[in-house]
């Protein structure tokens, strides 16, 4: 445990040093990135250890009411900690080079300070064993990520993204405060998780309220629809390695929070799981659909985070339903799927954001319709991005498939084992996952091909190239992880997952491991099929090479159907690619189109612009805030500037108090 504290200390000191060194960009980068790498590496040691041994704990008093510096890394915390610190480590490595690209325009001290404190915040959130410490760490995390979001604060939209983010985070925290306080009320006033664990007299109504509030509070951070509104704005605004961390792991702290709260609440009634499934289905399907409609590469990825959080929620939801109905197989598979997807999403989403960052750094634009043909200039980036895309679509044999496989499996079992009307949940997950699968394929085939394939749409992008060593290492490592996770799961992951599931579900460890063992044959099958695919592809490649060896292999322009002057702007754009699917869901997506059709016999100009804003923001929150603002505006006459009337306020107050006095004897 001391190592963990030392890791935090290294991070804090490193961040502070980076701030002190902000006069020299190189020094600041070295200090910030170096300390982050060292700190994360150190932190990983206890995290990994916690999975195999007893929980690591640390307790020391803290002169703050209700607070104590209690840390506990059990398997659940350890699991999340590994994901968090692992991705942060790579993010720091990548960021060291990436941020240095901004060195001419701004000082790098503050971003590195915030970055290191973001890691500290996330690590402490997960390791905290006290409610107040948890909240404080949570806020440190929010605040430091906020500072990173507004990194490029000259741009108005970046500021508005930061604003939305902080507001959403704060409203979420309000609910979390209520959650912890309600829990502490039943834990004899203490905020220590140790006391929370001993709660057993919780009424189902109170437990329900706590669960519901934690869905709102943690869901805001995690990005459940419709609390996701901050997410598509904030993630693109941050520097790419920070987007990777925010999207890959920071929002997962919300999932961690829900799981942690569940450990305090006793056996879940069915509606909890049902609620999570509903939330997951809505977030998953709509998230990917919104993603499809975006033209901004990082914004697209951000919406995919909503989708993947939805998938995680589905997994956890079906797992909870399994617990409620005493169907251990479903419980274990669902939870395992959800947890695995937490890790997998961190890997491939981190990879995709890092890849997008490399493109952004080279081309200075996130607008997909201005890109194209990047793959020729940045081959390595395009390969790793493709791997990430395949993984996020849940295509075999990469890691995304495995977690979705678990969830599918649990749901198919659910269709067989649930009582009549409950089947709907399992069915909903199956349909949603199927739909998400198709949409994700559409979305990432679009993202990859518009950006990396075809011809460059902008001639200025002729001299771009792959990023340097540090960024490459981070991306390649993550890409490799996409392949390796399944092997890891097969050979050492299952018993470790068992511990984590044990903490959440409170099922017996042996039973969990027994259930988990069932997953081994499919995984082996997956390997075999994958190797068959690999072998046959290699064979086909060699065969083709052999066939073409002696023959003429021509080079020509793409078949252009008789057009005389083909140019890059004639290529299919991201909006045209997505248009049929976007139109299909126009009632929810509400894409705005600005069209000027070609007119006359010799049309001169024509224009087509489409823009998909966030419907929850436009149709739910904005009107809500407007109504409140209008109501408040009606109070403006109170302060009209006339002193005489102000005096009457005093008398009126006095008289009303007298009425109160006479009324309440």
């Amino acid at each position: 445990m001391e190592i963990f504290l030392i890791a935090l200390f290294v991070l804090a000191v490193g961040g502070a040093t980076a701030l002190a060194c902000s006069f020299n960009a190189r020094l600041a980068s070295w200090m910030g990135a170096g300390s982050a790498v060292i700190g994360c590496t150190l932190g990983l040691i206890p995290a990994v250890r916690s999975l195999t041994t007893e929980p690591l704990t640390w307790h020391s008093a803290w002169p703050l009411p209700y607070c104590s510096f209690s840390l506990k890394i059990d398997a659940l915390a350890g699991f999340f900690l590994i994901v968090i610190l692992g991705l942060s480590l790579l993010g720091a490595l990548y960021g060291g080079e990436y941020l240095y690209g901004y060195a001419r325009q701004r000082k790098l001290g503050t971003p590195w300070l915030s970055f290191n404190f973001l890691i500290i915040g996330m690590a402490l959130t997960v390791a905290a064993d006290n409610g107040l410490l948890f909240l404080l760490a949570w806020e440190v995390m929010t605040l430091s990520s906020f500072l990173l979001v507004i990194f490029e604060h000259e741009q108005a939209e970046v500021r508005s993204a930061g604003l939305t983010y902080l507001i959403a985070a704060h409203i979420g925290v309000a609910f979390l405060i209520l959650v912890f306080l309600l829990l502490s009320e039943h834990a004899s006033g203490s905020m220590d998780f140790a006391y929370f664990l001993q709660i057993h007299d919780l009424q189902s109504k109170t437990a329900g309220i706590i669960f519901f509030f934690s869905i709102i509070g943690f869901g805001t951070k995690a990005g459940f629809m419709p609390f996701h509104v901050w997410l598509p704005d904030a993630h693109p605004a941050a520097p790419s390695h920070v987007s990777a961390i925010m999207s890959g792991v920071m929002i997962k702290t919300g999932i961690y929070g829900i799981l942690r709260i569940l450990t305090f609440l006793g056996p879940p009634p069915p509606w909890w799981g049902g609620l999570l499934v509903n939330v997951g289905v809505v977030s998953g399907v709509l998230g990917v659909w919104f993603a499809l409609a975006q033209h901004d590469l990082k914004r697209l990825l951000a919406y995919h985070s909503v989708e993947n959080i939805g998938i995680i929620a589905m997994g956890l939801g079906i797992g909870l339903l399994g617990i409620s109905y005493h169907l251990p197989t479903i419980a274990v598979l669902g939870l395992a799927g959800g947890l695995l997807h937490v890790m997998n999403h961190a890997i491939f989403k981190g990879l995709l954001f890092l890849g997008a960052g490399a493109v952004l750094q080279a081309t200075h634009t996130r607008e997909m319709d201005h890109l194209g043909g990047v793959g020729k200039k940045m081959p390595l980036t395009s390969v790793v991005f493709l791997i990430g895309a395949v993984a996020i679509c849940g295509l075999p044999p990469l890691n995304g498939f495995i977690s979705e496989f678990f969830i599918y499996w649990a749901s198919f079992l659910g269709t067989m084992q649930f009582a009549d009307s409950r089947i709907i949940f399992a069915l909903a997950i199956i349909v949603a996952l199927a739909l998400i699968g198709g949409l994700a394929v559409a979305c990432f085939s679009k993202a990859f091909s518009i950006v990396f394939l075809g011809e460059p749409r902008n001639q200025e992008h002729q001299h771009i190239h792959d990023p340097g060593v540090a960024m490459t290492i981070a991306m390649v490592f993550l890409a490799a992880m996409c392949f390796l996770v399944s092997i890891l799961v097969l050979y050492c992951g299952l018993p470790l997952l068992g511990q984590t599931i044990h903490i959440v579900s409170k099922l017996e460890l042996q039973q969990i491991e027994y259930q988990l063992a069932a997953i081994v044959p499919p995984l082996k099958g997956l390997f075999l099929i994958s190797s068959v695919v690999l072998l046959s592809t290699t064979f086909l490649m060699l065969w083709r090479k052999y066939l073409l060896n002696k023959r003429q292999v021509g080079k020509a322009v793409t078949w252009d159907c008789g057009y005389l002057a083909p140019n890059a702007r004639m290529q299919y754009t991201s909006s045209s690619y997505a248009q049929p699917l976007v139109d299909l869901n126009c009632y929810i997506l509400r894409t705005r189109k600005d069209v000027q059709k070609p007119d006359g016999y010799f049309p001169q100009t024509a224009r087509f612009l489409s823009h998909t804003l966030d419907t929850a923001m436009q149709k739910l929150y904005r009107p809500m805030f407007e109504v409140i603002a209008r109501l408040f505006n009606k109070l403006m006459w109170l302060q009209h500037g006339y002193l005489h009337i102000y005096m009457l306020y005093l008398v009126i107050t006095l008289l009303s108090l007298f009425v109160f006095y006479l009324g309440i004897k």
Binding site: I430, L435, V441, I450, L453, V533, R544, G554, Y572, P580
Partner: protein
């Protein structure tokens, strides 16, 4: 995980016979048009010819364009290992194999789309876009049909679905069969979803995606298409044949093969008698199929 080595013969049969199945459809269409039509083995000739040719690659394309057809073919071919044939369980059987099976299809499609997009042609982009949307809408229908079958048989493996003691019958079977037929038409880009023989690029889906492929690559793509037809019709055929009582180890598989031929003819009949749907109506057809599958799931016990 179980191996059934004897089923490799079924895989071999599929690899060999699938172009034949693809060749039946134009022949039926020719009959309907009053023409003699091409030979049944025309697809084999085509494949051989294409394999013997050189290739032309667009200067726009990258390694994705070279890799795509190979990867599509090998994934589809690999999915044959997971496909049972009634008394012949799949070569590789494990619980949840159907998921891998469906996702291998998705994988193949993903790379087919990327291949098309790599050319930078807007025709091919259009085709790819349509491929993506129809696949998206087909998947729920497919999964719901599978859920019905699996639930009915209480199994998590594709191989056991059609071997169970009480196979799906009656209304539910008809519904599911109908849904699977639509899935078949959509997956193989057939009328009424797509018209492979049209001469206008703007209306095509699959054919327009491969405009720039030539030589061996085009051969691989054609062969992949034939394998897809084989596999989808195979599943539908098994569903239809499964209720027939078992007489010997080979009878039902042979019956199923006959059914597949009949299905190919049916596709030909459909293509000859029905017009291609307008593109905006296709989603309705596919969503409708999902609804039917849901109905089937609901009434199945």
């Amino acid at each position: 995980m179980t191996w059934h080595w004897s089923s490799l013969s079924v895989v071999l049969a599929a690899l060999l016979l699938s172009p034949l199945l693809l060749g039946i459809i134009p022949r039926v269409k020719a009959w309907f048009a009053g023409r003699q039509g091409q030979p049944l083995f025309q697809v084999y000739y085509d494949l051989a010819k294409l394999l013997g040719k050189g290739a032309v690659y667009s200067t726009t394309t990258t390694w994705v364009f070279r890799l795509g057809p190979l990867l599509s073919l090998s994934t589809i071919a690999a999915s044959l290992l997971l496909l049972p044939m009634l008394e012949f369980p799949a070569t590789l059987q494990f619980s949840g194999d159907f998921l891998l099976f469906v996702y291998l299809f998705a994988m193949a499609r993903f790379f087919a789309i990327l291949t098309a997009m790599d050319t930078g042609s807007s025709f091919e982009g259009m085709g790819a876009s349509r491929e993506a949307i129809f696949a998206t809408l087909t998947e729920p229908a497919l999964f719901l049909s599978l859920a019905t079958l699996l639930k009915h048989n209480g199994t998590m493996s594709l191989s056991e679905v059609f071997l169970s003691a009480a196979p799906l019958t009656g209304t539910t079977m008809i519904l599911i069969a109908f849904v699977l037929l639509i899935v078949l038409l959509a997956e193989n880009c057939r009328v009424p979803v797509d018209d492979p023989t049209t001469h206008l690029e703007l209306t095509m889906i699959h054919e327009v995606m491969v405009l720039d492929n030539s030589g061996p690559d085009l051969a691989f793509i054609t062969y992949t298409a034939s394998l897809k037809l084989w596999i989808t019709s195979n599943i539908l055929a098994q569903l239809l044949v499964a209720p027939f009582p078992e007489h010997g180890a080979l009878l039902r598989p042979l019956l199923a093969f006959t059914t597949m031929v009949l299905l190919a003819m049916l596709v030909g009949v459909i293509e000859s008698t029905i017009a291609r749907l307008r593109l905006i109506y296709v989603p309705k057809l596919l969503v409708g199929a999902s609804m039917l599958a849901l109905l089937g799931f609901t009434i199945a016990r």
